[in-house]
Point group: C2
Chain length 217, copies 2
DNA sequence: GGGGGATACGTACACCGTACGTCCGTGCTC
DNA sequence: GAGCACGGACGTACGGTGTACGTATCCCCC
């Protein structure tokens, strides 16, 4: 009974599966091998080392983004759709998101979203330099938001404020925090994401109109 | 010759020092102990485990933020100053920034910036819910930006595009990326940060004016 | 003096990534 | 068909990791 042959793809898939089930800390070459019913060192026939494997995980997740934005739609709608597509994949692989965001990949997988976004921004009338600036701004916001959603970002996170509150935070030292504990303690991630996204898009649109015909990129 | 007694503070300081010198991967309990000229297990008299130690690192860095914003200044100026203070500390401890941003601390160290920011936003006239929303938006942008600056964020990062370009990216597949390689390849971090920050502040100010007297928080 | 608590330390265990050597099934060459 | 080269699967081994546990040492208070 020849088992399915070992493959880089199968290994990466097993890694993603393991990460989503037990978290990134659970990932070890031994563990993945066991998961695949295979000797540890067999993995190294398909993957040079653990770091490369994790890069593979990030690339795989990134490449699964589904861009469904209509090329004929208004550019603001396209930006919205692209940002949401990014967010959606992060939601689908929440525990892998940290990996995606924290690894420097220089492969085509990571380049496609950039290409799409740049095309959209240029179609909005932004010059080269401005398009890149805008892209970087959107990415910064999206990455930061996803980190919060995924539950990585620090104190400012949602449910932990409840913990803090339970611990009893001193209202004299932190009047605002304690009086706003109600709002800090809850977080509709999607609503929060969209709120900032809309603000950014509105601001970007204002810039686009403002600089029309003044493209200096 | 009784050496300086071991202390949680000294341990955390040694960890920060080590991280900044050799990166977060170099941190191990053995390494830190060696750095302090001390047995490994002695550390555990002052720190429950490695994770707590890293939390200590994050808290320490966070608590060194110097808020110099004038309480009487316009709220937009105060937001600007606070965001820059955050960025400055990240620049001072670049390799520790990832830790700061990726750990869930629930200590006072992480609460102070939140308190300051909330106070500022409330003074701008935002209701409770809106103030928290704005705070989250600013934090998302700042965190995302710092990750990029620190050189952690993926493909969209600056100098690696040059590498990609050197590798020869296919202009047919990625026309925008390749035609904008010039702009993607360089990044004045401070200018980029300020660009987005100003956009956000402007947008926030518009919201503040728009909702005046309509506070529903 | 003597007892007790805090601190420093060494040893030991389970686990990690991976370099290296070995084995075996497959396919090509004669 | 015989011989052989080769690639993939595997076991072993080494140096590293975090930390549980037991022990030794110091200082302070009685």
């Amino acid at each position: 009974m020849p088992t399915e042959p070992l493959t880089r793809g199968r290994i990466v898939a097993a890694a993603i599966d393991l990460i989503e089930r037990e978290g990134a800390d659970a990932v070890s070459m031994r563990r993945i091998a066991a998961e695949l019913g295979v000797g540890v060192m067999s993995l190294y026939n398909h993957v040079p080392n653990k770091d490369a494997l994790l890069n593979g995980v990030a690339e795989s997740v990134l490449s699964q983004i589904e861009f469904t934005d209509d090329p004929d739609a208004h550019w603001t709608d396209r930006v919205r759709m692209q940002a949401r597509a990014f967010r959606q994949i992060a939601h689908h692989y929440p525990r892998s998101t940290m990996l995606v965001v924290s690894r420097q990949l220089h492969s085509a997988a990571g380049l496609l979203p950039v290409e799409r976004a740049l095309a959209t921004l240029r179609s909005a009338g932004f010059g080269g330099a401005d398009a890149v600036r805008m892209l970087r701004m959107f990415i910064a916001y999206i990455v930061g938001s996803l980190l919060r959603e995924v539950g990585v970002t620090p104190t400012f996170a949602p449910d932990h404020t409840r913990t803090i509150n339970a611990d009893g935070i001193d209202p004299a030292l932190f009047p605002e925090v304690s009086s706003l504990a109600e709002f800090l303690g809850e977080c509709d991630h999607e609503a929060e994401f969209d709120f900032g996204l809309e603000l950014l898009i509105t601001a970007a649109e204002a810039q686009a109109g403002h600089r029309e015909g003044t493209n200096r990129g």
